[in-house]
């Protein structure tokens, strides 16, 4: 079978990309082969020029970008959010959490559900005197990166301790493999709490906590709140030189604080103008998302204004004449 473009990388957007590429092939006859090998692999393959594009949930570091022989563009494709899910049969209303309290739970300083700090945030709920069992990821992941990026932004203790990364050294808890593993553990273990991509919580009807944002309001990771986070951050950083923008702890009263872009990585000079043009055309088609693939599958599409910014940036970066 003829393949026009090959790509590899992040697993989180894979179901969406698979559907996009499938529909795009039917509409335009341009075929794209995408292997979901993880964000780290996506970055590695782009640096090695073994693929036409990469995909990642974790922005490339400056050091990685410098290692590349040709410039690499980050193109935000869709939004993701990390939710805090829990298994507490005793409560019916959504749990409320703040950044400091989440950090304390994952640092192991809150060990029981009736800890005064949790009770203070949830005065109406009757929190049981029960052990709080922490579940985190056992494998390296973009989800862990976004979550630890958030904790680093909101908690001095976290920032001085475990810090941010794809692999994080959690002082407490058990590790589940993949978002599925975390969801599975939480679902089967009363008294547990874990973090995961919101899509997985939603599909499994697991409860998701409301989290206090920078404006002090408790918000849930619904599409509108996630999109608000993206718009407010991009508005505030409109002069940033690229779109490797962290969306955690976003300003704005509606913004959900643990959100992130997931990016395509394109190196125009490495793949030549023809393939670049094919990719740009695909991005334009995908961001328009006429078939609503993103929301059907539980992802949050980029709001229209943001999609325009992304396309403008992409046009600029790909039409600048190659350096002599």
């Amino acid at each position: 079978m003829r393949v026009d473009l090959t790509g590899a990388g992040a697993t989180f957007p894979y179901p969406l990309y698979a559907r996009w590429f499938n529909e795009y092939a039917q509409e335009t006859n341009v075929r794209v082969n995408y292997q979901s090998i993880g964000s780290g692999g996506g970055i590695r393959q782009v640096l090695a020029n073994t693929v036409d594009f990469g995909a990642t949930d974790v922005p490339m570091s400056d050091a990685d970008l410098e290692r590349s022989r040709t410039p690499i563009i980050h193109v935000p494709m869709v939004l993701g959010a990390v939710g805090i899910t829990y298994n507490l049969p005793e409560i019916t209303r959504p749990l409320r959490l703040s950044g400091e309290v989440i950090a304390a739970v994952f640092l192991g300083t809150i060990t029981r559900w009736n800890d005064p700090r949790l009770v203070a945030l949830n005065p109406d709920a009757t929190l049981p005197d029960r052990e709080l069992l922490v579940v985190h990821r056992a494998d390296g992941s973009g989800t862990s990166y976004i979550f630890s990026d958030y904790l680093t932004a909101v908690s001095a203790a976290w920032s001085a301790g475990p810090g941010r990364g794809r692999e994080v050294l959690f002082p407490v808890g058990i590790g589940g493999k993949g978002n599925e593993g975390v969801a599975g553990q939480v679902k089967q273990m009363p008294g547990s709490l874990g973090y995961l991509e919101v899509v997985y919580a939603r599909q499994n009807r697991l409860p998701v906590a409301h989290i206090q944002n920078r404006a002090g309001r408790f918000v849930s990771p619904m599409p509108y709140e996630v999109a608000s986070a993206a718009t407010s951050v991009v508005d505030a950083q409109s002069s940033a030189k690229d779109l490797r923008i962290s969306l955690v702890n976003a300003p704005g009263p509606q913004s959900y604080p643990i959100a992130s872009f997931t990016w395509l990585l394109i190196a125009p000079d490495a793949i030549g103008p023809r393939k670049t043009a094919q990719l740009v055309a695909f991005v334009r088609w995908a961001l328009a998302d006429q078939n609503n693939a993103a929301s059907t599958l539980g992802y949050v599409a980029l709001p229209g204004s943001l999609a325009d910014i992304v396309l403008d940036r992409l046009e600029q970066a790909t039409t600048t004449p190659p350096r002599p």
């Binding site: 393959q45 493999k177 993949g178 599925e180 969801a183 939480v186 679902k187």
Partner: protein, 277 residues
């Protein structure tokens, strides 16, 4: 003391009863036609099946056999026919040690050898890892079986003017064939259920694929990921997959046992088995 020993025996068999009843109970309930004819539905969507995993496991075992059988049987013949040589002693010891090797190490080696250079996870890499796992099992079992063939038989064939290779392949190996077949079936049953060597080689695949250069699904990999899944449908399928795997393995061992029995009857009927004259 004897009472204690009997208690130990009962306690030892108890888990088997618990596991088998649980798998048969949960697994049988989750069997459906779509399990055999459909690939997995997207996570969270009900329905779908394990057709790609079943096909993948069969293909992987076939690829492993292509590597493991000719080499394993050849090595077994060597070990039996030239038992005293230094190479035979080394190979025998290494094969024994190798069969106790953690199988995940073979997966890592196949990754270094095939996945890394080719830049792609593939069914081939998985087949090679499983083939390497099979090799020592088949070699040692073949040796044992060939050694059981009376020396007199070999010598009469040679005396009748048969050449070396003909004697070995058409007389000795043929006589030992049921035993070798049994060993092969046991080895197949063993690799069919292996998961660890496939993690970094075959990788798994949500779609139907029989392309040897692409990642491929396998029943054990599907059981591994579904067992930890939050989706009820997938957990039910994990049990169905485990049931299929057990049926496959029990079937292979049963055939192996029948082969042994048929062979014993044959030997009893045939000329008496005396060792070297």
């Amino acid at each position: 003391m004897q009472g204690l020993l009997w208690t130990a025996a009962v306690l030892a068999v108890l888990p088997l009863v618990a596991i088998v009843t649980h798998i048969v109970g949960s697994g049988f309930a989750a069997l459906s036609t779509s399990l055999f004819f459909k690939s997995p539905a997207p996570a969270g969507v009900s329905g779908g099946g394990m057709a790609n995993g079943i096909a993948g496991t069969l293909l992987l075992v076939a690829m492993a056999s292509v590597i493991g059988l000719p080499l394993g049987i050849g090595a077994g013949l060597f070990l039996a026919e030239r038992a005293g040589t230094r190479l035979a002693r080394i190979t025998r010891f290494v094969a024994d040690v190798l069969s106790g090797l953690p199988s995940i190490v073979l997966g890592i080696v196949a990754w270094e050898l095939i996945v890394r250079p080719s830049g792609q996870f593939s069914a081939i890499a998985g087949g090679v890892a499983l083939g390497a796992l099979m090799l020592p099992l088949v070699a040692r079992a073949t040796e044992e079986m060939v050694r059981l063939v009376p020396n007199a038989l070999r010598e009469s064939a040679l005396a009748l003017g048969y050449s070396q290779w003909r004697t070995s392949l058409t007389v000795v190996l043929r006589t030992a064939l049921p035993g070798v077949l049994t060993a092969v079936l046991v080895a197949l049953a063993r690799v069919a259920g292996e998961t660890a060597p496939l993690l970094f080689t075959a990788l798994g695949n949500a779609y139907w694929s029989l392309n040897p250069t692409e990642p491929i699904a396998a029943l054990p990999l599907q059981i591994f990921s579904y067992a930890q899944s939050p989706y009820d449908d997938q957990r039910a399928q994990a049990w169905a997959g485990a049931f299929l795997l057990l049926v496959l393995i029990a079937g292979l061992s049963l055939i192996a046992r029948l082969v042994v029995r048929a062979r014993q009857r044959l030997l009893r009927a045939g000329p008496s088995r005396t060792d070297a004259p």
